[in-house]
Structure formats: structure tokens, C-alpha cells
Amino acid sequence: MSALVQERATAQPTQAIASEPRRRPSRRTVLLVSAAVVWILGFLILNGTSTLALPASELTDLHRSLNQFNAWVAANRADNPVFLYIFTPLRSAVDAVANLFTTTFAATTTGLRLPEIGWLGTVALLTWIAFAVGNIRVALLTAAVFVFFGIQGLFVEATYTFALVLTSVLLTLLVGIPLGVLAGIYGRVARIITPVLDFMQTLPTFVYLAPLALVFLIGPASAVIATVIYAAPPVIRLTAHGIRRIPENTREASDSLGTTGLQRLITLQLPMARRTIVMGINQGTMAALSMVTIAALIAAPGLGQTVVRALQSLDVGTAVNAGLSIVLLAIVLDRVTTAASRRAEPGSARKRSASRKTRSIFLAVSLAVVLVMVQLSRTMLWAAAFPQDLNVGPAIVQAVNAASHWLQSNLSLFTVSLREGVTNGILNPFQSLLTDTPFYILVIVIALVAYALGGWKLAVLTTACLGVIIYLGLWSDSMVTLAGTLVATAVVMVLGIVFGVAMGRSSRIDQLMRPLLDAGQTMPSFVYLVPFLGLFGATRFTAIVAGIIYAAPVAIKITADGIAGISPTVVESAVASGSTPWQVITKVQLPMARQSLALAANQGLIYVLAMVVVGALVGAGGLGYDVVAGFVQSSIFGKGLAAGLAIVFLGIMLDRMTQAAAAAPARRIPSPVK
């Protein structure tokens, strides 16, 4: 310990830890500073040794044995009982459901490839459903957006995506709601399920595409299964939450009437939790949309394929056109499910009871009209296939392409120098600090930081995670990914603090920003890539920018909520004692919102990490590249699988460390140095 205390001289009081006596830095500060010193000394003295770098073309024995697994699955698919009785029937069942919806709304596999109920029937039916579960406003929005898909020339693609989202959401509910109910009623189930859900949510979307495609083969069935895995956690969580939230006395009142468990579930718990459950459906639907788009890489039809093709041909116009469709579809799905959750509110039925009868009549009449339209679509070609004359897609594509060419030729000096500046000035030095330091030094450094943040338990956990990464043979690539992730998160935090403080201090800015942030969060990650790819080319910089854009909204929101949540009396007393606004922000608001900031950093990191693999499609190296390459080159399949696991362990480590930072403020750790 004395050696550590001697470093005190270098311990600069970097942040204002107001309540701590200045002379004695807290034990945490000492630990953090000594970690930094060990790291820098290790980097300077032992630079380039024991870096565990694995050339991209080389595999470890572990990777080769995972490759064998690939061959084993292929060889045993036809006669292994697990495949014969579980995986293959599951695949055909899911395929059948997906097929039902895609042929109804998007395109049949034979004939003219028109939707079974035509474009007019599809628009009419979906509008009617939107009205039945929501209100007239969302119904009109639905009609407008689906007609606009036709005008964009993307009706088939958009309805394919919609049909797959629908399939996935239905299957997600089939799995998620019973699990959520169980977890809500029995604490033991919740305790088992929660860590599994945590794990599922740290898994970046791309990581399970390759193994899933291996087991379930490529095609819509695998896409739907991947989507269910991705969309189930919010549904399960919110269902359980809704049931657990019911006040104890309400439950007791029901029990005193002698209801049985099942009766209680049907008459009390489900109806009372309905609003929260529908919110879960909303969250699940948004998650499903973003996954269905990415599943284009395993042959899921729809808008995702258009975006992928545009990425590959650098066709910004087509990508923007398809991206617009995705955003519109996201808005429709969001609004309709939100309206449904409003309708599900316990009080809303009574409020509307006056008009309920008229509503029912209107529903019945409009249903008849819908059925006529469906029948029309099945007999008339103009109602079956969207009229080509109304297609303005090519015009949109050309206009955007012209604009993007103009930007590229006029801004290239700026974009290139910005990219080169950031890459050479920040990213490369930081990355070499991570990749060129011997691995054992970094393990010690990270363990020290973990110990400072969360005690020996966290230190053991992080060391174990790093151990797994070393065992997977991907240390160096993990450090490349870590460097990009940390740089992106740092920028996310800067944005989070700047905009979060502005929003937290002014409700007008909040009102202005919040819809933008909401829109940013509903957009599937794929869509971000395209414009930046056009501006910056396929480089790590582009991937980092995409990660920042993806993660910034959530960090800004959390910070804003933290700042706005500080008791106004504290702020007022600071103002009354003559503090300038700057002093109020730096001395009162930011220190008091410290936990929100740490939470924002936590969420920012997880979101950035989720973009790592997607970013590899536009030039990010490291683990993301390994995953993408393993997916598309069968000779390095095993390495890709290992890289996917490494991302998960990196994610768990970063998540736990930032959570610990959020949970335990520095001053509460008792200091033995007296």
C-alpha cells in the first residue's frame, strides 16, 4: 500500500470531489492513478512485446475446432435426432407462418409475385387493423405511409419487411408473454430469467446470425428466429414488470374473494398489467424491425436487402430511399402500438363508452369495405400491383445521388482532413496504447480499475472476462475494438453532457430535442451507415461516427433526466449565493447528476458496442471484422464465432465496470489509509 501512497504526488485533483479533504486523495483516486502509471510505464518500456497479435489469416486450434463444428452440422443435418425432431420441424413451422404473411401482404412465390390480397387490399386491411387497435389518426397515418411505399417504388420490399416483423412479433408474444407472466408471479423464475435476458441484450445483433444460419440455414425462418431472440427480452421484462407492479392490497382484495391462481391471473393481473404489456409489445416491435433489416444478410427479403445492395454499390440515393421507408415503417409501428397501449389503459374504456356503439358500427361497416377492396385486388390488376406510373422512386434516387455527389466533390477536402486528423491524432495513438502494451500489463491495469470501482468481486469478474478473450485467441483484435468503442463513447459522453445539460436546464430545448432523439432511437442502425459511408469512405472513422450517432440519443436523454431531476431548491440556493451559471453547472448540477452520468456512460458503451459489428460493414477492424468475415468466408467461420463470443465478454466487462461506477460514489468507499 505504501508504494501506492507514494504516487500521491502525481495524483492531480482532476475532478471536484467537493466533500473530500483536498490533502488526502481517496483510495479510489490513488488506485486509478497507479493503474494509469502502470499502463504508461508498461507501454513505454515493454512496447510491442507480448501483444498476442494474431495475423488475420491465421487461426488458433480453437478456431479450427469450431470450423469442424461447421462441417459436423452440415454432415449430421439429415440424420441427427436433434435436427430431425427439433430444429428441422421448428424451422418448417416458422417458415410456414412467415410464408403465410409474406404471401398475403408482400408477394407470392409463383405467378406474377403480387401480394395475395393485392396492394389495395393490403393497405385497406392494415388501415382497418390500425383503426381497430388504435384510433382514426394512426389509421390515416398507416394508409398514407403504405401508399407512399408504393410511390417510392418499394411496396413489395416494405411489405416483405412488415410481414416478417409481424411474424416475429407474433412469435415473440407467444414466447414472451407466458415467460413474462411466470417471471412476474414467481420470484424464482425472475431470478433465473433476468441474467439470461441481460446476456441476450448485451449480445450485438450480428453475432448470432452466423450460428443461427448454421443451424437453421439461411432464409426467412432463420431471420424470424434471430429476430425473436432479439425482440423477446423487452416483452418478457415489461410483462413481468407490469404484473409485479400491481399494488399488494389490490391483490389481497381479490384473494379475499377467494379467487384461484388462474382466475386471479385472468381477471386481475393480466387486465391491470395490460398497458405495460402493450408497451412491451411496442418495444419488441421496434427491436424486431431493426433486426429484420439486418437479417437481410441471411437472405431475409425486404428493405434490408435494398440497403445492403446500396451499401455494396455505394449508391447513396437507393439507400436513402430505402432508409426513408424503414424510418416511415418504424414510425407507423411505433405510433400504432403506442395508440394501442393508450387504448389499453384501464380508464380509457370508460371515457369512450359513449361512442363505443358508434365505433363498433363503424368498424363493422369499414370491414365490409375492406373486404370489397380485397376482393377487388384479387380480380383487377390495377388493384393487385401498385401502378408503375405513380412510381417516383427513381426520381428520388437520382436527386439524392446528385446531392451526394455534390457534397462529396465539394466537401471532400473537409471530410478527408477531418477523418485523417481524428484517425492520426486520436484513434491511432490510443489504439496503439492498447494494442502495443503487453497483455499482462493491461490485465493488471484493468483489474486495478475494476477493484477501484467495485471491489475485489468486480476485479475477479473482469480478469475472468479478459482470460476468456485471451483463450479465444483474439486479444489484439479485442483491443482494437476496445479502442474504437472507448473513443466513440468518450464523444458520446461529451455530446451527452453538452446537450443533456442544455435540455435539463431549459424545458424549451427539451421539447425541441426530444422528438429528434426519439426519432434517432427508432431508426434501425443500418440506415445510419449509408450517408457516412458516402462522406468518409470505408474506414474505422466512419464506423465510429455511426456508433456515436447510434448511442448519443440515449446518453443525452439519461443525462437530461438526471439534470432535470435535481431538486430545484438546491439549484436556487446556489444561484442565490451568487454562483454564475457555469459554476452552477460544474459545481452543483454535474456532480449531483454523477450517477446519471455514469448510467449514461454505461448505456452509451453498450449501444456503441452493439454497433461494432455493423460498423465492420463500413470499415471497422477488430472483432467486428472477424465476425463479418467469419460469416462470409467458411474457412474462418470458427474465428468469427470466437470473435462474437469475445464481443460478448468485452460487453459484460464494460457493462459491469460502468454499472459499478454508477452504483458506488467515491466518497462512500471507506478509506483504510488513515
Partner: protein, 325 residues
């Protein structure tokens, strides 16, 4: 119980609606305009549906566009194009998602897995195109540094090719990670002071080479023939140690240049057995590098693939008739 009743009442219309729609669908399940209109277009044997994998380079698009155009308009087939990566497409033979790969580059391992072992795919013969992969430099470099086209001199020039992405070494610019490539292994096994960086796509590669030639900036990159872009900028190939039979058997130990690929078509066993004219067309399809380049140039120039295919087919009626007879 009142609450439950209300719940049922509220969901009744939705349930009724769904049931009515289902009834309606079942009621007129038979003939719809969708199926009847399509049936009229076909002549001779029924063709059915062909799922064509679309790999991401323009040469491939040209092959697939011409095939699709002929299958659709001469045979009345329903053609479904699916954008898939090169090796992922092969998995589609097993799952039934893919019936046809129009331009296959080698892939002996996949051929063994899906053609020999699993018997879900069949070799449908050569496309008539001969494929070359290699490392290329823009023509201005070959003029200024004549000895650069000899692979042994690459280390001498490594410092010229450094970029912010290549970590102090020379950069070898590759295309899509999904393309056939040994470049990572080549760099290591030939002891080259280079790092492989991925541009991400054919389009990005082409753009980089075009800019390099225009601005006379150094660039070393992965490229291939047949390729329309070579008639715009005639890139110069760098000679690596000559390919010999079996020198690239182990992907980790490759230290030789790429072989010459006899590009071929692969069809699913299912399509082959169906006796559909689409299978016959797939087997008959063959053309030259010039043919492919002319269609690819049109597509690159802004024509839709269908229009470019139509133009070529109209000008080469006898060739197309030869495929079908």
C-alpha cells in the same frame, strides 16, 4: 368477471374481422389475377420459380440480368433475385432458398460439401468467362516505377503505400470481405511489409483506383477480370510467385498467386431434377468476357440491369437461341 367480459367484447370485432378475412381468402383461394395472368405468358413446358442468388459485383449482375431476362420473357419463369454473399449463397442450396449461382469462382471446398457430399447442388457448366484475380496498381505507377509489377520489389515501395488505416505499413486494398481472397495469408507468407485493408465493396475499390489514377496517388489493390472498369483504367497486374497445382490447398499457408478460374454456374439439385426449362437455360448459358463487359458497362452507366440485358439479348438473338435449343 365484468372486466373479462369487456375484454372479450372489445376484441370481438378484431377476431371477427380476422375470421371474415380468412374465410374470404379461403373462399376465393383458387383463381386470382396474380396466378391467371402469369399462366398466360408461358409457352411450352411450365417453368415455375427460379431463385437466383445475386452476388455483389457488376460482372455477376450482368450474367444474372441476362439469365433472368431470358427466363422471364422467353420461358415465362418467375424469377426471384436474392442479394446474398458469395459463400452464403451456397448454403441456400441446402435450405431451398437458392436455385442458381450464375458466376462461381472456384470454391472447391464448397463444391465438395454441397455437390459431392450433400448432393444438393449440381455443376451447370462454364459461363465461358475466364477469371483472374490478382494485385494491381494504377497505370501511372507502372510507368513511373517499371519494376513495381514484380512482386519481389513490393517491400521497396511499401512506405509509399502507407495510409492512416494501415498502421505504418503499406496498404493492400481489398474489396468485400466476402470475395475470394488469400491476401492476408500472402502478405504474411511472402514476408511483405504490408497490411490488408478492406474497402468493403467492388464499387469502393473501383472508386479508389479511379481517384488514384486521376490524382496520381499510389495505390496497391485486389482486383479481377473480367471487369468493365479495366477498359476505363487499364490497371497493371503485379506478378506474385506463380501458381502451381496445390500451392493454395491450405488457406493459411498460401504463398503463390491466384489460379486462373474457369467461371461456372451452379444449380440446385431440385431445379435440375424438375426438368424445368430454367435448368436447361442455366446449363446452356455461355458467353465471352466482351459480352459480360458490354452489359456491365451499360449497367454501370446508369441503365437498369433489365434494360441492359434486353439490349444485349436483342442484339444477340442467335446466341440466346443457341442456349435454349
Amino acid at each position: 368477471m365484468r372486466k373479462a367480459e369487456r375484454l372479450i367484447k372489445r376484441t370481438m370485432p378484431a377476431v371477427a374481422g380476422a375470421a371474415a378475412a380468412a374465410l374470404l381468402l379461403a373462399g376465393c383461394g383458387g383463381a386470382s389475377v396474380n396466378q391467371t395472368a402469369a399462366a398466360g405468358g408461358a409457352t411450352g413446358a411450365p417453368c415455375g420459380t427460379v431463385n437466383v442468388a445475386m452476388n455483389a459485383w457488376v460482372g455477376y449482375t450482368a450474367d444474372a440480368a441476362v439469365y433472368s431476362y431470358v427466363a422471364k420473357n422467353k420461358l415465362g419463369c418467375t424469377v426471384v433475385q436474392k442479394d446474398l454473399n458469395e459463400q452464403v449463397s451456397w448454403q441456400g442450396f441446402a435450405s431451398g432458398e437458392v436455385d442458381l449461382i450464375m458466376e462461381n469462382w472456384g470454391h472447391a471446398d464448397l463444391a465438395k460439401q454441397y455437390i459431392t457430399d450433400q448432393k444438393v447442388a449440381v455443376d451447370a457448366g462454364p459461363t465461358g468467362n475466364e477469371g483472374h484475380i490478382g494485385w494491381y496498381v494504377p497505370p501511372w505507377m507502372a510507368e513511373k516505377y517499371p519494376d513495381i509489377t514484380d512482386g519481389q520489389n513490393l517491400n521497396k515501395y511499401a512506405s509509399m503505400f502507407t495510409t492512416s488505416e494501415s498502421g505504418g505499413k503499406g496498404q493492400v486494398l481489398d474489396g468485400d470481405p466476402a470475395f475470394v481472397t488469400n491476401d492476408e495469408a500472402l502478405v504474411k507468407n511472402l514476408n511483405l511489409d504490408y497490411k490488408v485493408v478492406f474497402a468493403g465493396s467492388e464499387a469502393a475499390l473501383i472508386q479508389s483506383f479511379r481517384t488514384a489514377q486521376q490524382n496520381k496517388t499510389p495505390l496497391l489493390g485486389y482486383f479481377y477480370e473480367p471487369q468493365w472498369f479495366l477498359s476505363e483504367v487499364p490497371l497493371k497486374k503485379v506478378n506474385l510467385p506463380k501458381w502451381t497445382e496445390g500451392c493454395d490447398a491450405n488457406p493459411e499457408k498460401v504463398a503463390c498467386d491466384y489460379p486462373t478460374y474457369k467461371l461456372n454456374k451452379i444449380i440446385s439439385k431440385k431445379l435440375d431434377d424438375s426438368g424445368s426449362p430454367a435448368a436447361k437455360l442455366a446449363k446452356g448459358f455461355t458467353w465471352t468476357n466482351e459480352d459480360q463487359n458490354s452489359v456491365a458497362t451499360d449497367i454501370q452507366g446508369g441503365m437498369t440491369p433489365e434494360a441492359a440485358a434486353k439490349k444485349w439479348v436483342d442484339a444477340h438473338q442467335s446466341v440466346v437461341d443457341g442456349w435454349l435449343s
